[in-house]
């Protein structure tokens, strides 16, 4: 696959090397030649120095035939605008935008881009690990609006119905694993101590569940 990355900072250089090691063709654009020093010494790909809004620069990077585009600079407007060009003017099938500053997220939503908000996602993870070590996220859908959490049933809930533990709104059971065997539970499933339960929930649901588990 042929990928274009806009922005050769920490995210861009890391992404470029990852794609390269998986055998893809990578072109990376940055307006500062010195930014290419961030790349892994073993990275082999095209480095294009220039402004990403300049058509010649985009054409040199191969935007007409690219399979994917990632805009990962530290400017949210630039990321959004270049991604919009990729999607509408060049019909690139896969375009992903980095949301750098959480304040700018509404902009990406208006453009209807696929975004990765590493700052807000990271802060959310860290908060969980600090405050709720007993419960952790297995999977985040979107940018963490819906997440799948895992918790281990404590002694206090042994023999109770799952429906008595998890809140009945904003939260649904996903699986229950007992002695290495998983089943699809419902609210009437009886839980035992040390069962591993996965639930899918939005923030409100998970806050209610945390209250319950304390």
């Amino acid at each position: 696959m042929k990928y274009i990355i806009v922005g050769c900072g920490r995210v861009g250089s890391e992404l470029a090397y990852t794609l390269f090691t998986k055998g893809h063709t990578v072109a990376i654009i940055d307006h500062l030649a010195s930014a290419f020093n961030n790349l892994h010494p073993e990275f082999r790909g095209r480095m294009i120095e220039g402004e990403a809004l300049n058509k010649d620069v985009l054409l040199r990077a191969g935007i007409e035939t690219a399979d994917g585009l990632a805009t990962v600079t530290n400017s949210d407007t630039l990321n959004s605008v270049v991604a919009h060009i990729g999607r509408t003017a060049y019909h690139i099938p896969r375009v992903v935008v980095r949301n750098y500053d959480p304040d700018w997220r509404p902009l990406h939503e208006i453009f209807e881009h696929q975004i990765v908000s590493s700052s807000s996602w990271g802060a959310q993870r860290i908060e969980e690990m600090l405050a709720h070590p007993d419960m952790h996220t297995i999977y985040s859908a979107g940018n963490g609006e819906v997440e799948i959490y895992q918790f281990i049933v404590s002694h206090k809930f042994d023999g109770k119905k799952l429906g008595d533990i998890i809140p009945n709104s904003n939260c649904s059971p996903v699986s229950l694993t007992r002695a290495g065997k998983a089943i699809l539970p419902d609210c009437n499933t009886i839980v035992h101590e040390n069962d591993i339960v996965l639930v899918s929930a939005i923030l409100e649901g998970i806050q209610a569940l945390r209250q319950q588990l304390i």
Binding site: E51, L53, N54, K55, T77, V81, V82, H84, A89, W104
Partner: protein
């Protein structure tokens, strides 16, 4: 008209001042604290809105929902494009105007980002300078519609080709019309049969190409 200006740099501030003088309602949005400090000295405080223009709350406080025009005047082309896109997509703003900072980015300032009018400073300047250099004795009185058309004036010199010719015989291009002739201090309303005389001051509305053809008629006939 109600105009929301995004970007309080020199261009945005100047635009706001001119529009206020013309009795338009203006709100201006800026997020850089140092720039805000300056514009608070130059513009009435009640029209200045502080904050990030990707934030719907800031935009709505500035009244973008009711704006007739949103003018994106920041020094960042990506910001200007994003502002126009947002204004139309989210608020259905009837008219969007954006400043082009880098002429190489001009290709983006169209319906791709819902930009109705792109103002490319560098290009307008370059064109005006070029016209001033090439126009000889022709004087540009007024630029119309971003400089595509102009009101020009030139005095008919002795031996000009058009002396003794009627307007209908000039074979003027479509994008050039004679608007008025000033003869002995009086305005002559031009008709097809009006014949030019030496010393006439000719006013014409014309495109750049039309002006070049018109200029040729003011020069002496080519030696045969």
């Amino acid at each position: 008209m109600f105009v929301v200006i995004v970007g309080g740099g020199r261009t945005g501030t100047q635009l706001a001042s001119i529009l206020i003088l013309q009795k338009h309602q203006v709100h201006i949005i800026e997020r850089r604290p140092d720039v805000l400090a300056r514009i608070h000295r130059e513009l009435p405080t009640e029209i200045i809105y502080e904050g990030n223009y990707s934030d719907p709350l800031v935009l709505e406080q500035a009244g973008v929902k009711n704006a007739d025009v949103v003018a994106a005047c920041t020094v960042n082309d990506a910001d200007n494009l994003a502002v126009c896109f947002l204004a139309r997509r989210r608020y259905n703003t009837p008219r969007t105007i954006a400043r082009v900072n880098n002429p190489r980015n001009a290709w983006l300032f169209d319906e791709k980002f819902h930009v109705d009018v792109a103002l490319n400073n560098a290009e307008i300047m370059a064109r005006m300078i070029e016209e001033e250099m090439s126009m000889g004795d022709m004087i540009t009185l007024l630029k119309l519609r971003r400089g595509d058309y102009s009101l020009v004036e030139e005095k008919v010199p002795p031996k000009a080709k058009l002396i003794g010719m009627a307007i209908k015989d000039l074979a003027l291009p479509e994008e050039c019309v004679i608007a008025a002739i000033i003869r002995h201090g009086k305005v002559v309303v031009p008709r097809g049969i009006t014949v030019f005389e030496e010393g006439d001051e000719v006013l014409a509305i014309t495109s750049h190409d039309g002006a070049i053809q018109l200029m040729d008629l003011f020069s002496p006939p080519n030696p045969v």
